[in-house]
Symmetry: C2
Subunit: 261 residues, 2 copies
């Protein structure tokens, strides 16, 4: 509002992303682009502790973060040039990032028009919910039938404790990160990398749906903690059916909180 006549080369939608926070992309969530397993390239992977692939990766994380936290709302039309200018890069790495984001389903590329931030839709929310319940319930069953339930539940409780220790009013972002970690712990424990990777993408979408809800969603953090606790207990008891039921309530709860205006 203050800057009514400020007209830069950079379009409005990209103005709020200053190039200042360059060095360390704050790791929005699961920034790992590949579903891959371990390296083992050919012979000497060199160091394995390399400073990471820079520019393209940076743009990817930068744009993804802004999509997930809602700063780039669905329906927005981006252009490679603008993003490149904003990050002081050439279009090449931007292109790379946009492409990845398209494959992930967060952007949709139109041939000579631009990149559309895919709008969130109620249908998609349903799909995410359904898929998450399916995959996570399955993971619980697998873990239980392999007799690893106690161990996994313990690890989940560790995450839960960290989550409880958070400052309740603030730290919304951190809470979300730990929520992801809680669920990922279980799914990863099932030992299926393909499913884990897919699940991670689902969680991204759910985060985005939560942040893109226009109005303030009622604070469910207290309920979430309680439900997480229940889930751990059910897992410890090896109660797969109960787990599925509570999980359904849990995930639908988040979903429902979004839908009720």
């Amino acid at each position: 509002m203050t800057c009514i006549y400020v007209v830069l080369n950079t379009p409005a939608k990209l103005r709020n992303m200053s190039t200042s926070d360059r060095s360390h992309p704050p790791a929005p969530a699961s920034t790992s682009p590949a579903p891959g397993r371990e390296p083992a390239p050919r012979q000497s992977p060199s160091g394995e502790s390399a400073p990471a692939r820079p520019a393209g990766e940076r743009v990817y994380a930068w744009v993804k973060e802004r999509i997930l936290d809602g700063r780039l709302p669905g329906g927005e039309l981006l252009s490679e040039g603008d993003a490149a200018t904003a990050l002081d890069l050439s279009r090449t790495p931007v292109r790379e990032a946009f492409l990845r984001l398209e494959v992930e389903g967060l952007l949709r590329l139109y041939p000579k028009r631009g990149a559309l931030v895919v709008p969130v839709s109620p249908d998609e929310a349903d799909e995410v919910t359904e898929a998450r319940i399916l995959l996570e319930s399955h993971a619980a069953e697998r873990v239980i039938e392999r007799g690893e339930a106690a161990d996994v539940a313990a690890r989940m409780r560790a995450v839960l404790d960290r989550q409880r220790a958070l400052d309740v009013p603030a730290d919304r972002a951190r809470f979300s990160t730990l929520d992801r970690e809680f669920h990922a712990t279980l799914v990863d424990a099932a030992g299926n990398g393909l499913i884990s990777h897919f699940y991670s993408g689902l969680h991204d979408r759910q985060v985005r749906m939560a942040t893109s809800a226009l109005r303030r969603v009622p604070d469910r953090r207290t309920e979430i903690l309680a439900e997480h606790d229940t889930l751990c207990t059910l897992l410890e008891h090896g109660d797969a059916a109960g787990f599925r039921a509570t999980l359904t309530t849990h995930i639908n709860g988040t979903h429902g909180a979004l839908l009720d205006s």
Copy 2:
């Protein structure tokens, strides 16, 4: 063996892909790169029947086809330059294609070394099998509980009939395509686009595993047809549990046929 001393600029691994078959990449399978839904870009998507995004798309389909059918075996190290030369393009669209294939998990990109065709592993086979059974069984349950089982089963039978009509000895590729279509019909009918997209990727991997098996896998086509028929029947009867059981046998059958040397 015959061409021991043939040394071209084009490395051996790319030699068997002549640039002749350019115009129409024979559509290896699910070449659609995005999980997306319908277009509806902003206002006028123009024609919707455009000649498709050319070069990058072409390279993508071209390389993917060769990975899936085993002409580019796991462990192979590609380079953008070679592929660009082979297709008479610049490296830019090749880069794009490689990137997509990395996200899909078929390639692994090493910073300044090249692109590795991800080797198929028994572990991955297990993961694909597990995920397919999970997703497809779930789809069956959904379809049944929505009362659409008869309709969907009919569509699956239509595919099955086309599959039966094929020349048994030849048409291996076509059989595989219809096999994909058979399973995709069910999964798509469940109405979850995210799951459908993921499932499609799983099928790609399974195809690759089948073709990359070094030795000739026993011809299971007769059994496959019979099992498909059983699956249709079970679906018609609304027997979700039976469906899951037979599906497990069916998919594990393919898997097992690969593992038994």
